[in-house]
């Protein structure tokens, strides 16, 4: 079963630290200060702020992923419990954007192309689809949030833990019940 990151609107204050951390985690080179940034931050989760709610939204890594099915060049794949976009394969057709019910996919300029062989056309930044890839299992957003408003949900682990907790509770209850009988 795929994992995903879930925001808690009761804890989220809308500071965008998660967005910044996400964008930084996906840079090609290590950059620490704002002054070293020569382009905009491109996060893969998006703060939603309305009168009713404040929380970031990102890819849910659906089991039956509509984006994956919609991609005409098969650039979206399932890889070790994640749905990931193969950026070199992506043609920027936006099918996945239309398909995603969470609005979790954005189009960005790829900066990988900024160093080229002098051919101007090849040096043009490519437009590609971008979305949460769970940072390979340790999501940067979850780590950075100053309010612990984000949770990395590993459904398999979560389910097992809940079952154990439930068993313990019910077991205790049952024994007590039995003793009193």
């Amino acid at each position: 079963m795929n994992s995903f990151v879930l925001g808690d609107p009761k804890k989220c204050i809308g500071c965008r630290v998660c967005e910044v951390a996400c964008a930084v985690a996906h840079l090609d080179t290590e950059i620490k200060t704002v002054g070293n940034m020569n382009f905009s931050l491109n996060p893969r989760l998006y703060l939603v702020k309305s009168h009713e709610i404040t929380m970031p939204v990102q890819c849910r890594h659906c089991e039956d992923a509509p984006c994956l099915k919609s991609c005409p060049v098969s650039a979206i794949k399932k890889q070790s419990n994640r749905i990931v976009i193969d950026e070199t394969g992506c043609i920027g057709c936006k099918s996945c954007m239309i398909a995603c019910p969470f609005g979790a996919i954005e189009l960005i300029f790829s900066h990988q192309e900024s160093v080229g062989d002098g051919d101007l056309l090849q040096n043009e930044p490519e437009v590609i689809a971008s979305k949460c890839d769970l940072c390979g299992g340790e999501p940067a957003c979850v780590k950075a949030c100053p309010r612990e408003a984000l949770q990395y949900v590993d459904m398999v682990k979560e389910r097992t833990q809940r079952r154990i907790a439930a068993a313990n509770k019910m077991g205790g209850f049952h024994n007590e019940f039995m003793v009193r009988e």
């Binding site: 204050i13 500071c15 200060t33």
Partner: protein
């Protein structure tokens, strides 16, 4: 009018602000107003311009949102050069263009000074590891930018110790207002003027190192080069957003002209270097010019919390006992706690001192002083959490975790630089000895009084 403009130096861009409230958590004077979740604003009457809000803010201009204000308008509003970096809601007004224009005039005679904290942070803006120590490259960059004389705030920090140390001894022996407060941090000075006017007399009358350097540039420095004071363009590179305000204070004209004409933050200096296409990392190590660029280790530790106190103790001990201090490393003044007590036994006198970092931490101490409950002699206060190395004009970290790392590394580099110096005590700096011989006379003397000391006014 001028005062009004100055006070609005720190601002919040309502379009980018998400109202998360993290800035008001770090603001030491509760100057940030607004409802949670709504755009915040800075109350200029309360703000002390420390720039801590600027450092913490992560409300940036997302490429996925549409704004009524264009990027170029935002850059213009902030006086920033054309850069592609993300812009954040909390910001300060810069002075980039003003300085660039003057430097473009090759006939301009210019003098520049750099605060101790800049040499341990500037390289970060060029991708070098956090806290890299680069005084030599910094000097080389400033020379290539066209500054005629590259002098140093550290020299003036040594000068501050001479004056402030003597003032302290005088207050103790002749009975002046005690405890005496340091006056190097303009945000702290402003805070006393705003919130504790009844304690103004406790502030040392010494100008800050930036302003001492400024008045020396346009007097002694101008004479050394045989130029008129009015021909000198005096620039300060600071880790601090409040230093801009300090330089523009109307009383800071003891040379007869504005002593410091312009202040750039560490970040703004990095913009200048990048715009001039100087390859910072490849620069050679060059040395500060003499006489006003020579410094002791005591001068360089002004950049960290506890540094002014440690530097003062190294000299005051000798002033009081007439003997050299056994160990120059006063480790009890170093540390992380917001309030630290340091006692120095000089035989005849137990010198009791307090070091405060983070302006919020000083309030309980000030309340005790008001109630007459304290018995210490000297208090150092720095507004920023780890001293000037953590100032509002320093490189801004993308991630909060790197903020802590940057403080640690900058601090370690500062103490390393202290240990590297031939002279560790301000009064041993030969150029300091010479400036007193040739020009100033003696600490607290007539000339010093005119050029190196100032006065304060309650804000209300």
């Amino acid at each position: 009018m001028v005062a009004k403009k100055l006070q609005e130096n720190i601002k919040i861009d309502a379009e980018l602000c998400t109202g998360c409230g993290r800035c008001s958590e770090v603001c030491p004077v509760n100057a940030i107003e607004g409802q949670q979740g709504k755009a915040q604003s800075v109350n200029a009457a309360k703000c002390v311009m420390c720039g801590q809000c600027v450092q913490i803010c992560s409300g940036y201009d997302s490429p996925f949102e549409q704004y009524a204000t264009s990027r170029s308008q935002r850059l213009q509003e902030r006086n920033m050069p054309i850069v592609n970096e993300p812009l954040f809601a909390a910001y300060y007004h810069g002075d980039f263009f003003k300085v660039k224009k003057r430097l473009a005039d090759k006939k301009q005679f210019s003098m520049v000074q750099c605060a101790p904290a800049v040499r341990v942070s500037l390289a970060e803006e060029f991708g070098m590891p956090l806290g890299s120590l680069v005084p030599g490259k910094m000097v080389a960059a400033l020379k290539r930018l066209g500054f005629t004389r590259v002098y140093d705030t550290n020299f003036a920090a040594d000068l501050t110790i001479m004056e402030e140390g003597s003032e302290l001894v005088k207050r103790i022996t002749e009975g002046g207002p005690l405890p005496m407060f340091t006056s190097c941090c303009p945000a702290w000075v402003k805070f006393v003027e705003n919130e504790y006017p009844e304690l103004i007399d406790h502030l040392s009358s010494c100008k800050s190192p930036q302003q001492m350097a400024g008045s020396m540039f346009k007097t002694y420095g101008a004479a050394v080069d045989g130029v008129d004071a009015q021909e000198v363009y005096s620039v300060a590179i600071m880790p601090c957003t409040c230093k801009k305000f300090e330089a523009d204070r109307p009383e800071m004209k003891s040379s007869g002209f504005q002593d410091v004409d312009a202040v750039l933050t560490t970040r703004e200096l990095a913009y200048l270097i990048k715009e001039a296409s100087i390859d910072f990392n490849a620069l050679p190590e060059e040395s500060f010019d003499k006489p006003l660029g020579m410094y002791s280790g005591a001068g360089t530790i002004f950049g960290v919390t506890g540094g002014v106190m440690e530097a003062a103790i190294r000299t005051a001990y000798e002033l009081i006992t007439k003997e050299a201090i056994e160990n120059v490393n006063i480790t009890s003044a170093r540390g992380e706690q917001g309030v630290r007590k340091v006692v120095l036994d000089t035989g005849s006198l137990k010198l009791k001192t307090v070091v405060v970092s983070g302006l919020k931490n000083v309030v309980p101490v000030l309340e005790e002083i008001k109630r007459g409950k304290t018995d210490f002699h000297f208090m150092e206060v720095m507004t920023c959490p780890a001293g000037c190395i953590s100032g509002g004009g320093q490189p801004k970290m993308l991630l909060p975790v790197d903020g802590k790392r940057a403080y640690e590394n900058r601090k370690a580099s500062t103490y390393q630089h202290d240990e590297e110096q031939r002279y560790r005590k301000s009064h041993e700096n030969p150029e300091i000895q010479e400036i007193y011989q040739k020009f100033l006379g003696e600490p607290l003397g007539h000339r010093s009084h005119k050029l190196l000391h100032t006065h304060y006014k309650p804000s209300r």
